[in-house]
Amino acid sequence: MFGLSSKDTRFLLIVVFLTLATPILLQPFPEGSSLAQFNAGYPDLMQKFAIFGIFAIGFNILFGLTGYLSFGHAAFLGVGSYTVVWMYKLLGYNVLPGLVLAVIVSALFALLIGFISLRRSGIYFSILTLAFAQMSYNLAYSVLTPITNGETGLQVYSNDPQILMGENSPTSPHLFGIVMRESTQFEVGGWLFTLNNGYYFCAVIAILAFYLSLRIFRSPFGMMLRAIKTNQTRMNYTGLNSRPYTLAAFVISGMYAGLAGGLLAAMDPLAGAERMQWTASGEVVLMTILGGAGTLMGPVLGAGFIKYFENIFSKINDGVLHAWFAFLPDGLEDLVVALIHPFVGKGWHLTLGILFMLVVIFLPGGLVEGGQRIARLFRSKKTKTAGPGGRNRDHQPKPAPHVAE
């Protein structure tokens, strides 16, 4: 189906299901329970999962496949956002023209930066991309204030032209009248679920983006990209010109980033310059490596992981801690709270840093490898009970690790 093998189709269907069911899956705890703090099923965070998932999927097409480590992808994210907000200002709040243009503009921008940066490889390439992105950020923050509105961030003002705005057009981002920030809520027992238009818009695009990346991974083009990562010399002596391949990968991943940036502005009509800072570029690198570079699902997991930390752990303050451990005797309660205190709330960076280290030390393949290990553990238990037939596995020649999963 969809031009995919049956295994990939199954994989895709699982991803589709998980994406569509996210608003329910991420609300495992009933409202009002003390663990409700950990629920992540609210629109903003779910949108971020989908959007940064797209960003990371795109980044992975470049980094995961070709091995070219770009430290400047945030520039495309920012360009995408600015494009969409400018379209709001000029045309109106329909997100479609902005998103289409965001992808086009970021593609052109990526073509320019990629054309220059890809003249070098390795860390020299990384620094070139970093330099371009930092220049974009610094200029957007200061000198280009007339275009970007600088530190405040680009937003829509009432005196903007908005020539396509009708009398009854929604006054916030929408797709032909479907307003992004509107939600449908329903309650089941103590559980409250929020089905947000914006999230589903992002989710559909994310699924398409994922499907596209799956196709690229399985295509001859994707194979060429992996070949570039492995051995460029052989690539060239096999009659293949690696430059257009890497440039194409760079532009594609730039378009993904532009799309993600555009979606950020489609969910929330403001574009800040910090989106282009090197820390934002670094974030997508971390997401990809953390999840598992070169795997299909890894970057998405990494994106979810980091965004979850940023949004959920940072909100656990002492008051919340005290509420959790209220059942303990006073002295003990204070001690436990004091012990946990440095790691949550404003200390969420610390926890994140420690987790980076733990993951990379113990799971070199990222979170995906963790998942695979668990699966293998599960499988080996099963094969043990299944009898000697399953044991042969280990003695067969080791098949190449498939890039999927």
Binding site: I123, I127, V360, P364
Partner: protein, 343 residues
């Protein structure tokens, strides 16, 4: 002319800091082949050694001064540093005043120990891992280090002044026949520049003239061969890591009077120092130093009003612009070797 001289002077101490950090980064990269994103954090820890020394020397006991009241209206508790009560306000005050230079004594062992611990405990396991993994793990470490510092010292910049002796500035202009106040240069920045020269010279001399250094240089060129000679290169590389950490730390200690330290100063310097290293050429020590000073001076030039009025915002992007130009014209930076970090 005077404006250019002035900016060269200003570029020198900025360049000194860049060069020192880049030097350490290159030592680690050149010897161990590890991309150390925690190097900025080492610089920051060095700076906080100075803060700690200031705190230690300023350790005080409270004395109630009944004539004054604090903000709640209670009698004011005056903090009297122990050193002042031991040695008298004169000598004691002088000791506190000199806390930044004194901190060097503390910073050297602390940084070397930290370097050893980092290398043995963490970096060692990452020699054979891809650069991406090294980046992730050292970046994680950098976050952890800076969060720990933040936990103890807060997020605010902390004032750590230079000794009073070095307060104020020297008028170079008068010396060279210009009007007064045309070319002034703070004494402490001169100290910093000289200090940087001493450290850089020391590192080069160490590598050039000691057997230890020769082995390390050989190891940088060809690790396997040196290993085959039966020389325990790993132990030496550990020491090199300690040395690199100490260089970064000392750069941080002495920089505190110029830049009040805060917990994220390491990250601020990290990106810049990587640009410096790459412009110099990965793995080239002279390249790192050269690029450090070059970028420092060019950045100062770009800050001149005359230039800013022609190209607005040039001072914000000059470093990156130079990096792009150099990397496009010289594929491996100013003095880079072939084949290093190109895959």
């Amino acid at each position: 002319m005077d404006a250019i001289l002035l900016q060269i002077l200003n570029g020198l101490d900025k360049g000194s800091a860049y060069a020192l950090i880049a030097l350490g980064l290159t030592l680690i990269f050149g010897t161990l082949g590890v991309v150390n994103f925690a190097h900025g954090a080492l610089f920051m820890i060095g700076a906080f050694c100075a803060v700690t020394m200031q705190r230690i020397l300023g350790l005080s006991f409270s004395q109630v001064d009944p004539t004054k009241t604090d903000f709640l209206g209670n009698p004011l508790k005056v903090q009297v540093p122990y050193v002042e009560s031991w040695f008298g306000p004169e000598v004691g005050g002088a000791i506190i005043d000199w806390s930044v230079p004194i901190a060097i004594v503390m910073a050297i062992p602390v940084m070397i120990a930290l370097g050893f611990a980092m290398e043995r405990g963490l970096i060692k396991h990452f020699y054979k891992r891809p650069h991406a993994d090294q980046i992730l793990v050292t970046f994680g470490l950098a976050i952890v280090l800076q969060e720990i510092v933040k936990y103890f010292f807060g997020a605010n910049p902390i004032q750590t002044g230079a000794p009073d002796m070095f307060a104020g500035s020297f008028d170079f202009g008068v010396l060279m026949g210009f009007d007064p106040n045309v070319i002034i240069y703070p004494y402490w920045r001169m100290v910093y520049f000289l200090f940087a020269l001493v450290i850089i010279g020391g590192v080069f001399a160490f590598l050039q003239f000691t057997t230890f250094g020769m082995v390390v240089r050989a190891g940088m060129a060809d690790r396997e061969t040196v290993g085959l000679l039966g020389i325990d290169i790993d132990r030496r590389f550990t020491i090199m890591f300690g040395l690199a950490a100490a260089v970064a730390g000392l750069a941080g200690v002495m920089y505190t009077p110029i830049l009040s330290p805060n917990y994220h100063m390491g990250m601020d310097f990290l990106v810049l120092s990587f640009v410096v290293v790459v412009v110099g050429g990965m793995g080239s020590l002279p390249g790192a130093v050269l690029a450090g000073f070059l970028l420092g001076i060019l950045q100062s030039f770009a800050s001149m009003n005359e230039i800013k009025s022609i190209i607005p915002g040039i001072d914000q992007v000059i470093i990156y612009l130079i990096a792009i130009v150099i990397l496009l014209t010289r594929p491996r930076g100013l003095m880079g070797r072939k084949g290093v970090m190109e895959d």
